[in-house]
Amino acid sequence: MTTTLTPTQPAAADEPRAGRSAWTLVARREIVVKLTDRAFVIGTLVTLLIIAGVMGWQAWSAQRTTTYTVAATATDRAMADRLASDAHGIDEGLEVRVDGAADAAAARALVTSGDADAWLHRSGDGWVLTTDSEEKDALTRVTQQVVRQATLAQQADALGTSVAQLEAGSTVTPQLLSGDAEKAGLAQGVAFAFAFLFYIATLTFGITLANSVVEEKQSRIVEIIATSIPVRQLLVGKIVGNSVLAIAQMLLYAGVGLVGLSLTPYASLVPSVSGPVVWFLVFFVAGFAALAALWAVAGALASRVEEVQSTATPLTMLVLGVFFGSLFLDGTAKVVASYVPPFSAVLMPTRVLEGTASWWEAVLALVLLLAAAAFVMRVAERLYRRALLQTSGKLSMKQAWHAPE
C-alpha cells in the first residue's frame, strides 16, 4: 500500500483552525479519557451505591418496627397490657406483645428459652424487667416511661389529684430569637455536606489534573502539543475538562442524595435545601476553577509523577484549610473569611443558607472570587508555560517564574 502525497500548499498566513478553539479539543479529550477510565467509572459507581445505600438504610430503618414479647404472670398482667397498648405511641419503632405465664418460674423459663424477650414483674417497691443475657435498651426506656406514668396516675389518684395538676407549670420549651431550630440544624448539615464535597472534589480532581499535566510532560507529548497549539489553550482545556467532570460528578452525587432524602422521613426538608444548592454550585465553579489553575501549575513544576505529591503540598494544605475554615470559623472571622478567596467558595454560600448574608454580599464575594480566579489563571499560565518544557527535575514556583522560555 502506498500513500499518495500531494505537494503541500504554501503556508496560509492565518492560524490553523484548531489554534483558536483548540481548548475545546483538549477539554473533550480530558473528559473522554476520564469517562473511559475503568477506575474512575467504578469509583463513581461505588460512591453512588454508598450514597444510595445510606439513604436506603435510613428509609428502611425509619419504617422498621421491632416487636418484643413480654412475659407476665396474672398479677402483673394489667401493667404488661398497658405497656403493650402504649409502647407504639411512645416509640414508633417498637411494639410489645404480652405472653401470659402461669407463675414466676414459667415466666423465667419463657425468657431463658427465648420465647419471650423479657419478664415484667413486681418486686418490692418497684418493677423489674428481666431479660436473658443482654439489656433491651429501647424496651427498657419505654417500659420505664409506661410504668412511671401508671404509677404516677395511681398515686395522684390516691392523693385526690391528677398527673396533669402535679406537672402543671413544669414544662420547658426551647426558643430561638432568630430563625428556627430546624432550619439552623439543616443549614449546618448542608454546609458541612458541601464543604466536604468541595474538599473531596478539589482534591481528587486537582490531583487528577496535576497528574495529567505531569504525564504529558514526562512523556514529552507536551512538546508535540506545544508545537500544535498555544500553551494557554492547553491549560484552559485541561481546567475546563476537569471542572466539567468534577461538577458533573458532584451534581450526580447531590442529585442522588436529594432523591434519597425525599424517601426518608426528612422529605419535607428537600425544597428548602434545593434553593441554596444553586448558590453552592455557583461558588463551587468559581472556586474550583481558581484552584484548578494552581493544580495545573503543581503538575507542571514536577517532572515525574512521583514528584507531584511534594509540588502539590502547599495546595493540599490550602484545600484542607478551606475545609476546616468552613467548619471552625465563627463570628467576625467567619464574616471576613467569607469574602476571602478561596475560603469564600464555601463560607459565603453557607452564610446565605444560614440567613446571615444578604444577596449583595454573596454577589460581592462572587466577584472577588472570580477576580481571584482570573488573576490566578494569568499567573498560572506564565508558570505553566515556563515549567512545562523544563524537564530536569523538580522546580520551585520561583524558579518557574524566572525560568527562560
Partner: protein, 293 residues
C-alpha cells in the same frame, strides 16, 4: 527553505548552542550529526519554537518564522512519548485535530499511515501494548499526519529494526520529494551517509562542517590502497606520503605532497606486480572524527 542563522542558547554558564547557522533546503534530506550533548536537540527545539532563543534567528521561506508556521511543521521530539494508555488511532486523530485537521480527515490519514507501517490491525490497541519499535512508528505517523510543510525529526531511526529503518527512510524520502525540507538528527553515521543529501555536523554547540555529503567527503584526506604481489613494507621509505597502515602486501597511504601517489605507483610497478591501486573515499565516520575531534 528553513534558514538557521547565528542561533545561540545558553543554560546558565553553559552555551549549549553557539552561533549555529545552516540551511534546510526544500525537497532535500539534511542530516544533523553530532555526539551526545553536541546541541542537536536544543537546536531542533529552538527551530520548533518550544525553546526560547538567546540570539540568532530561524527564517522560513525568507522571513522570520512565526508560531503559525511552526504549527504546520512536523516534529518528533527526542524522547518518545504519546499517551501510553490511550488507543493509537484515537490519539493520532486527536493530535491531527490539534494541528487543525477535521476529525474524519485525520482518521483517514492515520489509518493510511498505520497500514503502511503494518499496524492497521493494532489501531485499537493502547500505545503501551506495542513494542518500542512500533511505538516509534506511531510517533512518526503523529509527525507526518497533517502533511507538514517541513519535518524536524530528532533521532527518528533510533530503536528501529532494519526493516523499519527502510520503510521509515522511504517515507521520509517520499515526503522530501514533494518539496518538503527534512531535517533529522542521528548518531548512526552509516544511515546518514546512505540517506542524506546534505549534512550538518555539530560539535560542542558549534557547526564544524556543513554542506553537500559528496563535498564533505572529498574534503577528507586523500588516501590510496595499494595491494602488491610481494611485501609492501618499502612504502615507508617513500617521501611525500604518510603511511597509515601496512599489513603484509597491503598498504594504506595518505598523500601529503601532491603527486606523491604517482611516485608510489612507479616504484610499485618497478618492484613487481600491482594487484590494486585505488583511491579510498573517506567514510562519513572518518570525516566526523576529524572535524569533531
Amino acid at each position: 527553505m528553513l534558514e538557521i542563522t547565528g542561533l545561540t542558547r545558553r543554560f546558565g554558564d553553559v552555551t549549549a548552542v553557539d552561533d549555529v547557522s545552516f540551511d534546510v533546503r526544500d525537497g532535500i534530506m539534511t542530516g544533523f550529526v553530532g555526539g551526545n550533548g553536541a546541541g542537536k536537540t536544543t537546536t531542533m527545539r529552538m527551530v520548533m519554537g518550544v525553546l526560547g532563543i538567546d540570539a540568532g534567528e530561524v527564517r522560513w521561506r525568507g522571513r522570520p518564522v512565526t508560531a503559525a508556521d511552526q504549527r504546520r511543521f512536523g516534529y518528533m521530539p527526542e524522547e518518545r512519548g504519546l499517551y501510553p494508555k490511550q488507543r493509537i488511532l484515537d490519539q493520532l486523530v486527536y493530535l491531527g485535530q490539534l494541528k487543525g485537521m477535521e476529525a474524519a480527515v485525520a482518521r483517514r490519514a492515520a489509518e493510511e499511515h498505520l497500514e503502511r507501517f503494518g499496524l492497521a490491525e493494532r489501531s485499537g490497541d493502547r500505545l503501551q501494548e506495542l513494542s518500542l519499535g512500533n511505538q516509534q512508528r506511531v510517533q512518526v505517523v503523529a509527525a507526518l499526519l497533517h502533511r507538514p510543510t517541513a519535518l524536524v525529526l530528532d533521532e527518528p531511526f533510533s530503536g528501529l529494526d532494519p526493516m523499519a529503518v527502510d520503510s521509515m527512510a522511504d517515507l521520509l524520502r517520499e515526503h522530501a520529494s514533494t518539496g518538503v525540507p527534512v531535517l533529522f538528527s542521528s548518531h548512526q553515521l552509516d544511515l546518514v551517509e546512505k540517506l542524506c543529501d546534505r549534512l550538518v555536523i555539530l560539535s560542542r554547540g558549534r557547526v564544524v562542517a556543513a554542506g553537500d555529503a559528496e563535498d564533505l567527503r572529498s574534503r577528507g584526506p586523500l588516501r590510496y590502497r595499494l595491494t602488491l604481489d610481494r611485501d609492501a613494507g618499502w612504502v615507508r621509505e617513500v617521501r611525500g606520503i604518510h603511511v597509515v597502515d601496512v599489513d603484509g602486501r597491503t598498504a594504506l597511504v595518505e598523500v601529503v605532497d601532491e603527486g606523491a601517489e604517482q611516485v608510489v605507483l612507479r616504484e610499485a610497478t618497478a618492484r613487481g606486480g600491482v594487484r590494486e591501486f585505488a583511491p579510498v573515499r573517506p567514510a562519513l565516520a572518518d570525516i566526523y572524527r576529524e572535524v569533531a575531534a
